[in-house]
Symmetry: C2
Subunit: 468 residues, 2 copies
């Protein structure tokens, strides 16, 4: 088959080695890890192949691609490593896929400044390995670190497992380079902080490919901590756990990690290590030894005061070791089971209601097999919750609608108690219909205006984030 | 004189008590604290009065004002308490001044969540006093806290004196309400963190009144710290001081305050307490007692290792007490002297060059009387510097051009070493001509697009921030 005109133009401009049209590559990059896309594949009505996959070497290649696509009104779908779980990548008919993982060079590590500049497609684990050579670390460790890119982290507003002390991606993002839909280049100045108008990095952070293509990022990195220590407790119930976390954080302590598992998640994730009907609290303290010691002692004292009991010390190291092992969706889908995690967040005074409402909303889901939650990112003002559901409908044909039903219930329950529908996975396609309620009419209007002025052609990742 | 048609319409819509046209009010609100505006007043060629001063009670009054001004293409200049020092407020001919200090209600303090919601015009010191009743504190203490508003802090991307531990305004801003130029209302969801598209609060933060009017803010507040302690050192030179600060911050410590004064600023601000030719380092440690103790000890050890010597312990309490006392510009202007502070920032490896370059750039300024610098906000990646100059030309008629000359030299020297032209005062009018070099062509283009789509009428604070 003759390649389409845009593919021909891309080959002419970039050379054939950067414009891939082989079946395997096209099939491999059609979508991210969103369950519904995987389900469609398994059910034989899969996402269509893109027209081609562009594998840029540098930002000039990205500019060329964006310019050619804009001139022909061809959709451009940026792709990192495909670990997204909300449908942020899904090639529609006639789209060009921009495989940013081809831009995977570590550009510069400045040890004096503790800064590291990466091409956007550098895999998280590779960034971390490059830093480890200098005794440094990102401090940003999403569970997907082996399967995601630094640019993808910015595009989706990622949080890492150690965010309670080290912040989320926006807190360590010092500089950014991006190609805007009109082909112009945004290069922000790399400085610790500035008051020079609105923070332009923030426009691209969380834009999910709809406002431009992030081509490089500079992150504020750290020395590897002097000490790491664990602290494990059990609490009689979720409310008691929330109160313990709240007191710790509001007293001015910042454990690098603080996680709280409800009874079901504790039993599933730490079998044999937690007594039934107990809530589990896991803390990781990191930093200078004297700070770690002071923090561990203070958190232990607070936890005891608030009715917690020391837990099995094996849990800390176990979590560290196994924290990125997760079962694939595929093995469940083949059994006719749909499942997902849904991360939301709210202020402290809504946490009990948030937990109960979402759990309650799933009680009557037909075929529900599992519902549970844990928290993983704490703030002075509140907390996130990571809900997990699994359900099996009577007929495989009902899997997609059952999945959507579970999401719908969780989103509405979260909004009803004043929470936010996403803490760090983003909107993609799975949450898009709820964004208007999340942002309100003024917010959604503002987002649409930004899209309209930056991408009046509608070429950048259409169908994602912004409701139609 | 008959009021102009827009003033008549405002009176009709808002009532005469909210639309002030008396001479004293008009004269009082013409401009902020920018030296050039004060100089013009003193020299009898002052900034013109606004058409009227609108004193809104609530956001509905702001919507009404913005709508009427847009319909008649009348400039709207938002005003907090006028403490800005970069010319962000200056009424042009025919402008309506929106006096946000009239919206000064503390809306809600949520002790469980450590959140506080204020109308935008609440004075900083009043916000702090309201929190103190509950044992809470903002943690955000700009030197202008008695003279500035919480909304103004957001509009200008303010930093407080304790930002090294507690962050700047964007780090504690949880929610925001704003009236956009089209009259629509933006109300962001108040949550600890979200990944629901680009952070819309960031668009208004630092927008200096050019993209909308901030009408309410929700801040993440704190319990008053258990302990406060001081730590004072002298260093043989600025480079040694920078290295000490860098090691402390990069080791993972976060003193609430860390300041470094060069020889001239140390002698001027702490007369009799610092030996000549020494650089002064002042740290404030705050938090739980155990954390303060560990941090103080570690910082002392690091400072000694890096060649610092303990300084006069009277300096800490003296700074706390006198930190917000500053001489007025007026007393110098009357003597024919121009002066200002210029706050910039850069990565660590440029700090020595930044200090030397700006100081050097002023050496040949005719009539230069004083040039010095201190740092006041530290980061893992770098530091700010607060330069001060004073100069007296031969003739009073040269004061403005001498002032502009000093600014021009400092801005160019900062940009030449890769620094940012403003750490926390903003752009206003005094830095506007340098913003293009700061943001680059892509950045300035993006900012202009945002202005174009949000305020195609050009009514919001024209002449500020965005170069013509």
């Amino acid at each position: 088959m003759e390649p389409s005109p845009i593919v021909q133009r891309l080959i002419q401009a970039l050379g054939p080695e950067l414009v891939l049209t082989d079946r395997v590559t096209l099939k491999d990059r059609r979508h991210d890890y969103w369950l519904l896309s995987q389900l469609e594949d398994l059910q034989g009505r899969g996402v269509p192949d893109p027209l081609c996959v562009v594998a840029p070497k540098d930002r000039a290649d990205v500019v060329t691609t964006v310019n050619l696509c804009r001139e022909s009104l061809t959709p451009v779908v940026p792709f990192g490593l495909g670990s997204g779980v909300v449908g942020g990548v899904r090639t529609g008919p006639g789209a060009v896929l921009l495989d940013m993982s081809a831009m995977a060079r570590v550009l510069e590590i400045q040890v004096d400044n503790l800064t590291a500049t990466f091409q956007a497609g550098v895999r998280g684990a590779d960034a971390e390995a490059a830093l480890a050579h200098c005794g440094l670390t990102l401090g940003h460790y999403p569970q997907s670190i082996d399967l995601s890119t630094v640019g993808g982290w910015v595009a989706t507003r990622s949080s890492g497992q150690f965010s309670t002390a080290y912040g989320s991606i926006e807190d360590i993002l010092l500089g950014l380079e991006a190609v805007l839909p009109d082909g112009s280049l945004l290069e922000t100045r790399c400085v610790p902080r500035a008051s020079t108008g609105p923070d332009l990095k923030a426009l691209l952070t969380g834009s999910e490919g709809t406002l431009g293509v992030i081509t490089a990022v500079t992150l504020s990195v750290r020395w590897r901590p002097e000490t790491r220590d664990f602290n494990v407790f059990t609490a009689p119930g979720m409310e008691e756990g929330f109160e313990t976390q709240r007191y710790i954080l509001q007293s001015g302590w910042r454990p690098a990690v603080m996680r709280q598992y409800d009874e079901a998640d504790a039993a599933r994730l730490f079998p044999g290590l937690v007594n039934e009907n107990l809530v589990l609290l896991l803390l990781v303290h990191e930093g200078p030894s004297a700070a770690v010691e002071a923090e561990k002692e203070a958190c232990s004292a607070l936890a005891r005061e608030l009715g917690c009991t020391p837990g099995d010390p094996a849990i800390g190291p176990r979590w560290m070791e196994e924290r990125n092992h997760v079962p694939t969706f595929e093995e469940f889908l083949k059994e006719g089971i749909v499942l997902d995690t849904i991360e939301v967040a709210a202020l402290w005074d809504r946490m009990g209601a948030l937990y109960r409402s979402v759990m309650e909303s799933w009680k009557t889901v037909p075929g529900i097999l599992y519902r549970a939650a844990h928290s993983s990112h704490g703030y002075r003002s509140g907390l996130n919750l990571y809900f997990t559901f699994a359900a099996k409908p009577d007929r495989p044909g009902e899997m997609a609608s059952l999945y959507e039903n579970c999401w719908e219930r969780a989103m509405e329950a979260t909004l009803d108690v004043g929470g936010t529908i996403s803490h760090h996975h983003g909107i993609g396609r799975v949450r898009k219909a709820k964004l208007e309620r999340e942002l309100g009419p003024g917010g959604i209007g503002l987002l649409r205006k930004m899209k309209q002025v930056l991408d009046p052609w509608g070429i950048m990742n259409p169908g994602v984030l912004i409701p139609d």
